[in-house]
């Protein structure tokens, strides 16, 4: 087994030697970034983080540009994002990437706390929001921000998000209703209890007093805490539709006012205790649903991080970094290579390629020259552009996309809509049955009309029926989001178990997006370490994807007169000797040494005139969990089809390696789409797994689309399900969970129907007192909600998420 990185747990690439001594023992590191972070954590006296954490961090970015956060110190930016108090201290909300567990919160709070002038510092681990109070006189925001980035938690300024604020207000309002109902229930029940216990002996005067007091508490409590039901019932009636809350509201108000009338003018039983209890239990169910739904959505807040917080504004004198909030419609901005366009605009000067996949799903970068429009959120990948700003903030195209995705999250699942329609008919039937029963009892025993009507309305409330599907889906979405799969279309979870075929892409899906060094062939006069140091130094000038494979190996050797030749390789003078690295045929020509034949794969030759050359093989690494995922799918009887645009021999080799029987090579996106259509025409249900960017059209053509994405790319994908992170392990969880989701939804619906249909006749016969009906109804709803919450736990994730055994192993003397 290969050694894994002490900091991030990724396997250490062969030939990497970045060990750091921590706690008196050398610890292997996979890259310079991890090494820097581990050293930083250790030298700050925060080494206990490694014992504390229960999830592995992402690999940190290797270099943090100090100027990246400079614009954050500008007054306009601070005033917008970080309001100041009367003493000049400011408080800001930063959204951090890569927050996993309590250890992250501990580390961030401890580390930032060591800076002068940092006051309040609270990291919410559920959504990665850091509330930070600081004194700009002592420590600049940019200092804190780059400190966070170095630690491996790149921060983003939080744009005040209306959806988030709305969620919070909704939660708080529900919480208040719930608290009032709970306290009111305890109070009213304690008064009622006095009567039940001392039933015979209570004198009429005392009994009347108790009733008055109960009324005094129950009426305001029911009117206040029952608001969600009255509002919803009124809204449904206004639309001439019988909603779930119509019988609920009728039951509450009928029970309440008949009890008030009895208390004031007449004699008989009062139902204050039942009313308040009914409201409390209903609210409890609603609150659980609300939390499940909102939690499932927080993962999507990552979308808003796609735009940078600063821009380089061009002025008459030159350029200056300003906050995005300072830009106006008249400004011109300079967007350099590798930067994200901050606003919609028109190119004034410069030619460059722009990656607009975030907005259009079009993966190939497009050439943009003066006069062309560019959109906020697109990435400049070659060249730099001067852009005249035309649209900002809410007027940008990307802002519209984010809104659309937010809407998708709020839409009701298909089965829930079906249940809503069914509930409409069901409620009409209940109201009819209740009226008939009331008429019958009026003839026979008028005193029992009210309790029986109440019991029927309450016991038949189809809450469980309506809650069954949405709570199950919300709960499963939430658990999966924690495990790394975002369900942007929860219906897909319910449909997933019926899948017969899984189409999977190779490049970027089964394999990691980047290249890595797979094999090095040294010889006597050129050892492994020397080869990597030379290659790392030479590739520094290149922007080719292969060059990235060498980034981590750069030892900082000085290169004189470096250069690169497109399609061939790189060269430069190191320690007075001229080295070449690249395509074997080209290097051979340059150094005048013939090369012997070498095995298949992508081989690079490293050499200088007068020396036997060395060989390096680069390859795209197979993602972690790929083999297991394929085996799992085959085990579940699902046919796996490998569909790739790559060369046939590469595809066949990959298929052989992973045990995939069906594979197609050399496919263009439209061929993949045709393949998916052909399979579907034959009656297959197809799920497509792709990287979500190159495969966007194919994903749209499948029954269920699953995309893999990291970081900002999450926002660019339009798939039903998005798996985040580097490994395929979240998808294993997804396929294992889907049948459970379906099973639990079915259980919920069957239970709800059985209960409602069974209890209604009993209530009509007068066998169910109103208080028992309230308990029965609430218990049935709670049973459904609790059953759904079982999906909130994913068996087996504990083992995936907890690195503790591995860490302990490393600590013990080998």
């Amino acid at each position: 087994m290969r050694e894994s990185c002490f900091h991030c747990g990724e396997p250490v690439p062969t030939g990497t030697d970045l060990a750091v001594e921590i706690d008196g023992r050398p610890r292997a590191m996979c890259c310079a970034g991890c090494r820097a972070v581990a050293q930083l954590i250790h030298s700050s006296g925060l080494g206990r983080y490694y014992e504390f954490r229960d999830a592995l961090p992402e690999r940190p970015e290797s270099g943090v540009d100090a100027g990246r956060f400079a614009a954050w110190d500008r007054d306009a930016v601070l005033d917008h994002h970080a309001p100041a108090d009367e003493r000049g201290c400011r408080s800001v909300v930063l959204v951090l990437e890569n927050v996993h567990c309590a250890a992250c919160a501990w580390l961030v709070q401890r580390y930032l706390g060591s800076f002068p002038g940092v006051g309040q510092c609270r990291l919410d681990i559920s959504d990665g929001r850091l509330k930070l109070g600081f004194d700009p006189q002592c420590t600049l925001l940019s200092t804190l921000a780059s400190a966070l980035a170095r630690l491996g938690y790149p921060p983003h300024l939080d744009t005040p998000d209306s959806a988030l604020a709305r969620d919070r207000n909704e939660r708080r309002r529900m919480l208040k209703y719930l608290i009032v109902a709970a306290l009111g229930m305890m109070q009213v029940m304690s008064y009622a209890l006095a009567k039940y216990i001392g039933a015979g002996e209570m004198d009429p005067e005392t009994e009347h007093f108790f009733r008055l007091v109960s009324m005094l508490v129950a009426v305001p409590v029911a009117l206040y805490a029952g608001q969600p039901f009255y509002r919803s019932a009124a809204a449904h009636l206004a639309q001439r539709h019988l909603g779930l809350d119509v019988p609920v509201a009728i039951a509450i108000l009928l029970a309440l006012f008949s009890s008030v009338a009895i208390t004031l003018f007449g004699s008989g039983d009062v139902y204050f205790d039942s009313v308040v209890m009914f409201i409390f239990f209903l609210l409890l169910g609603r609150f659980a649903v609300l939390l499940a739904r909102q939690d499932a959505g927080t993962a999507h807040s990552a979308l808003t991080r796609a735009l940078p917080a600063q821009a380089r504004r061009l002025t008459d004198e030159g350029s200056e970094m300003v906050g995005l909030v300072e830009l106006t419609g008249e400004d011109r901005v300079l967007v350099a290579d590798g930067e994200v366009v901050p606003a919609d605009g028109v190119v004034l000067e410069g030619v460059g390629r722009v990656d607009e996949s975030l907005l259009s799903g079009e993966s190939e970068p497009r050439l943009r020259s003066p006069g062309d429009a560019v959109l906020a959120g697109s990435l400049v990948v070659g060249g730099s552009l001067t852009v005249q700003v035309t649209g900002l903030g809410r007027d940008t195209v990307i802002s519209g996309i984010v809104d659309l995705l937010g809407e998708a999250r709020r839409k009701r699942p298909r089965l829930a809509k079906l249940a809503d329609r069914a509930a409409g008919i069901f409620i009409a039937a209940i109201l009819l049955a209740t009226t008939l029963a009331a008429l019958w009892w009026w003839q026979h025993d008028p005193a029992r009309v009210i309790p029986i009507v109440l019991a029927m309305l309450v016991v038949a409330c189809p809450c469980a029926l309506a809650l069954g599907t949405p709570t199950a889906l919300a709960s499963a979405s939430r658990a999966l989001a924690r495990a790394g799969v975002l369900a942007s279309n929860p219906d897909a979870l319910e449909a997933l178990p019926r899948i017969t075929h899984v189409m999977i892409d190779k490049t970027g899906t089964l394999t990691e997006p980047g290249m890595h060094v797979a094999e090095v062939r040294p010889h006597e006069s050129l050892d492994h370490e020397r080869i990597m140091a030379l290659a790392g130094a030479l590739e520094r000038v290149s922007r080719h994807p292969i060059a990235r494979a060498f980034e981590a190996h750069d030892r900082g050797l000085e290169v004189q007169r470096p250069g690169s030749e497109a399609g061939n390789g790189v060269y430069g003078e190191i320690e007075g000797q001229r080295w070449f690295l690249g395509r074997p045929e080209w290097v051979e020509q340059q150094i005048g040494q013939p090369h012997e034949a070498i095995g298949e794969g992508i081989w690079l030759m490293l050499g200088r005139p007068g020396l036997q050359p060395a060989w390096i093989r680069v390859d795209a690494a197979v993602r972690r969990g790929a083999g297991d995922l394929i085996a799992q799918l085959h085990g579940a009887g699902i046919e796996v089809v490998l569909a790739s645009g790559d060369r046939p021999d590469n595809v066949a080799a990959m298929a052989r390696r992973l045990g995939i029987r069906q594979h197609h090579a050399g496919l263009k996106p439209e061929d993949k789409l045709a393949l998916a259509r052909r399979l579907r025409a034959k009656g297959a249900r197809v799920a497509m797994i792709g990287d979500g960017i190159n495969d966007a059209p194919v994903l749209a053509g499948a029954d269920i689309s699953i995309a893999l994405a990291e970081g900002a790319a999450i926002a660019r994908t339009q798939a039903d399900l998005v798996s985040t992170g580097r490994s395929l392990e979240p998808l294993q969880n997804l396929f294992a969970q889907a049948p459970r989701v379906r099973r639990i939804i079915r259980q919920n619906l069957i239970w709800a129907l059985t209960y409602n249909l069974g209890a209604l006749p009993l209530a009509a016969m007068g066998l169910v007192p109103p208080w028992a009906a309230a308990i029965g109804m609430s218990a049935s709803s709670l049973a459904v909600v609790l059953n759904a919450r079982r999906l909130g736990r994913i068996p087996g994730t504990a083992a995936v998420a907890a690195p503790k055994p591995a860490a302990a192993l490393k600590r013990s003397p080998a």
Binding site: S44, G45, G47, A102, R122, S126, K176, I179, L183
Partner: protein, 63 residues
């Protein structure tokens, strides 16, 4: 039994007090993040800062 005429109004006052206290707590973000504060108790009151020596001691002593 006359005592109930004192006790019950008293219970109503306590009820209003409890509702007021809960509303105050909701308004002051006390229910917003229920996960992170629970973890804070695991964090013992070691001095903040760069004291490597102290950090070492508490690592050995407590964990």
């Amino acid at each position: 039994m006359k005592i109930i005429y004192v006790l019950i109004p008293l219970s109503l006052m306590l009820l209003s007090l409890a509702i007021w206290a809960f509303f105050w707590a909701v308004k002051n973000d006390q229910f917003d993040d229920l996960d992170t504060p629970a973890m804070d108790i695991l964090d013992d009151d070691e001095d903040q800062g760069h004291g490597l020596e102290d950090g070492e001691k508490s690592v050995n002593g407590k964990w």
